[in-house]
Symmetry: C2
DNA sequence: GTAGGTGCAAACCTTTTGCAGCATG
DNA sequence: CATGCTGCAAAAGGTTTGCACCTAC
């Protein structure tokens, strides 16, 4: 899916849900969908301010909340108290491996895994709306670099 | 395992690692292991203050950090930005289902699930140290009560 | 015209830190 | 008696909110 298309879909759905489509929202959505990384709210603010220096922090947070609520963006905790976002549109669902060495986030997907999660839930009569699976450890490069030998927050 | 035993094990290992065993730590450990729930730092502070009103917030946080580092306690993000802890000693490893209706946390375990996670990681050359799997949705009771019909934060 | 959105600054909440005094080993 | 731990208060993130103004519809 092209950025333009994604942008249009977001605009259409927000309008349909009774939200207004403002310049700020257009900018924030464009920037959020332009990066294919997992960004923090603060990073997104910075990027937006490069184009319009007076976008407010509050607006970014408020827009992210709307986008999350409408399912266009997903928040994920990094384990160190931080929170990142990623856009969801045009991405298959996937889970994450978080490298404690270089902070890189790898994505993966395994259908069998998903099935077993649902099975486990069904056994307990639990109705699953969404899930979050994260593996923490070291990526290939960091293993080679010996990052896995020192403590995560080591000297 | 009896609470006394757990308490003793924690004391022994902390001492052995060169930590001191103070009244405050004994209290905090006792309280942390007394509850079988998933508690926030603030809740633990409150509970401890019932017995010793001048325990400091900083001490609770510092002690939780030591306990987490030594593997006696595990922190888990609740998805709403909050953080909870649970004691680990005498618990098998398990994953969590978080009910969005009553905030209850159900525990479950599935070996096959764990195996497939490791397999997925191995495919990408990723070395897993720990993982976190959470299913969000509604428990049986909340489904019956119709909580799943309203928005999570609904009126 | 009237909601809803925006910018600003202040409030908030949770966690961390600097420091002087205290207690443990 | 030296070092690690504690309590306090203040600082530090990151996120939310109150309010007056603005703008999309």
């Amino acid at each position: 899916m092209k950025p333009d298309q994604e942008h249009g879909i977001v605009e259409a759905q927000l309008r349909q849900k009774g939200h207004r489509w403002t310049n700020q929202r257009a900018l924030i959505v464009r920037m959020a969908f332009a990066t294919h990384d997992h960004f923090t709210a603060e990073q997104l603010l910075d990027i937006c301010r490069r184009e319009d220096p007076k976008v407010s922090r509050a607006t970014v947070y408020r827009t992210l909340a709307v986008l999350e609520q409408e399912g266009f963006v997903e928040g994920l905790e990094t384990g160190d108290g931080g929170r990142r976002f990623e856009h969801v549109l045009g991405h298959e669902h996937h889970d994450h491996m978080v490298c404690l060495g270089c902070e890189q986030i790898l994505e993966f997907h395994d259908d069998e895994l998903e099935q077993r999660q649902l099975l486990a839930a069904r056994r307990l009569g639990f109705q699953v709306l969404r899930h979050s699976l994260r593996l923490y450890g070291y990526c290939r490069a960091c293993q080679r670099a010996g990052n896995s030998q020192r403590a995560a927050k080591g000297p």
